[in-house]
């Protein structure tokens, strides 16, 4: 799973560079994120602006990272397209994660 990270103070911005976050890529995504958690990061802005498809396994992978970072951690989700955003809304994941249109908006909201 190709990702790109950028430090933003408390938050680490993680941009997913692949178009599909589905069952076939979910494990690889979890691995990459786990590595970052092990490095000590617990607050993420997850930029999904490149992602065109996500299924329940993909959502589950993001959820598992949220569980890992625990109460002191945070995952903000940004840049969801119409269909990806739909998946979050349908499954009530938009209430589990804070969602913002862009990375900048997410970061300013959390200052």
């Amino acid at each position: 799973m190709k990702i790109e990270t950028k430090d933003a103070g408390r938050y680490l911005v993680v941009k997913v560079l692949e178009q599909r976050l589905g069952a076939d890529r979910a494990a690889s995504f979890k691995d990459e994120m786990s590595k970052l958690v092990e490095q000590g990061h617990t607050a993420f802005v997850l930029d999904l602006s490149e992602v065109k498809f996500i299924d329940s396994t993909g959502l589950g992978a993001i959820l598992s990272i949220l569980k890992r970072v625990g109460k002191s951690g945070d995952i903000l989700v940004t840049g969801t397209s119409d269909t990806v955003g739909s998946m979050f809304k349908l499954t009530r994941m938009d209430r589990v994660f804070q969602m913002y249109p862009t990375v900048d908006e997410a970061l300013s909201a959390r200052v």
Binding site: A23, A26, T57, D82, M87, L90, R92, M93, V96
Partner: protein
């Protein structure tokens, strides 16, 4: 007077609904569009109807059969061939479809009407016939006046004050449009029209036949009639059309079932604990549907028959096909559920299997079996939301 209904199209602009349902069979609340059309023809004394079919033909033919139940007599003209059990379409076009029937039996031996099978119309055909006769027309097009901003969706027609058609513009811009009257796809013809339609080749009414008539200076007329028209040629149109009907904004259209509470129409054999659910009109709830305590259903919505809304499910402004199950974890807002797809009013859609959202919405007849990933999501959602 005889009629022909064009029902052979693939309905590409109404995909994904038309992957599993031919456009004329798309239900407006409960009735297929074409049934409403046939009822209308029957009311105007038309009894003999030819219908061309191709895409998903059995779904049309098995529903209407010989038409007896609807007070009419129907003959189908199947266009295509069955190859290895699959229907391969035969592209003959709308005028080509007419010609095929005429070549077969000379069916059209008097003034006849041709309509597209995908719009709800209640035009007064008697008045159209009167106009047609007065003008001694070879062909009369039923026109409709639309707001100028809408001309970009349609075939615009320029007519002389006496009704003679001068020319056509296909989907012009607002500035380019020469008029605001559009072709409604309802035509009246004399049998002599077949002199202008060649056999054995693809030929279209709007694109080829009419320009030929204009070029030959034949009596092609257009009449503007005021009537109710619901076009379901695209997903957004179907969405808007259904909402219009639910809000009772189409005069003469009766909502099916009984109004059991203000704004709530239902079929029979429902299992709904009315005091424990939050249902706000306008909604139609189909027969045999079950709604669990704590569920929310906000209109305008159509819930098909045999549906299940589990406890705590939220459905807001949706059109649910028959046998849809909405689970407790779901929040369904402005969606059409049809043929295993979860469709947005814009036409974008998710495939329920591919997106693994069977745990949110699925066929009610399937046993609910969650994969490990789905079960985990479910638990998380329920914990989090109910907390």
């Amino acid at each position: 007077m005889k009629a022909m209904i064009l029902a052979a199209g693939k309905g590409t602009r109404v995909r994904p609904i038309t992957w599993t349902l031919p456009k004329p069979m798309i239900p407006l609340i409960r009735k297929p569009v074409m049934e409403l059309l046939i009822e209308h023809l029957h009311r105007h004394g038309i009894t003999d109807i030819a219908i061309n079919t191709s895409h998903l033909a059995p779904l049309i033919e098995n529903y209407f059969r010989d038409g007896e139940r609807f007070g009419v007599r129907i003959a189908y003209s199947f266009e295509g061939a069955l190859v290895d059990g699959e229907v391969q379409g035969l592209a003959v076009g709308s005028a080509g479809g007419m010609r095929k029937i005429q070549d077969f039996s000379g069916f059209f031996d008097e003034t006849f009407v041709v309509l597209c099978g995908d719009a709800l119309v209640d035009v007064d055909l008697g008045r159209v016939l009167q106009f047609h006769r007065e003008k001694k027309a070879l062909a009369t097009i039923v026109l409709r006046d639309v707001p100028r901003e809408q001309v970009t969706k349609y075939g615009v027609v320029e007519v002389r004050p006496d009704g003679r058609v001068l020319r056509f513009q296909e989907k012009p811009s607002v500035q380019e449009a020469v008029s605001t009257v559009i072709n409604t796809g309802i035509y009246m013809f004399e049998p002599r029209i077949f002199d202008f339609i060649p056999s054995g080749q693809e030929f279209d009414i709007g694109g080829q036949l009419f320009p030929a008539l204009v070029a030959a200076n034949e009596a092609l007329y257009g009449v503007v009639e005021p009537f109710n028209w619901l076009d379901i040629g695209s997903i957004p149109d179907f969405w808007e059309g259904t909402r219009l009907l639910l809000e009772k904004q189409l005069p003469g259209f009766e909502l099916p079932g009984r109004e059991v509470r203000p704004g709530i129409h239902t079929g029979i054999n429902l299992r709904v604990p009315w005091d424990l659910v939050n249902i706000q009109g306008s909604v139609y709830i189909g027969s045999g549907t079950e709604i669990g305590a704590g569920a929310t259903l906000i209109g305008p919505s159509v819930v098909g028959s045999g549906c299940v809304l589990q406890e705590g499910a939220t459905v807001r402004e949706c059109i649910l096909g028959d046998y849809t199950r909405v689970s407790s974890a779901a929040v369904l807002e402005r969606k059409i559920i049809s043929g295993g797809k979860c469709i947005d009013p814009s036409g974008q859609y998710l495939d329920i299997n591919e997106s693994q959202i069977g745990w949110i919405v699925d066929d009610a007849r399937k046993r609910m079996q969650l994969t490990a990933a789905e079960a985990e999501l479910w638990e998380q959602v329920m914990d989090h939301v109910m907390a």
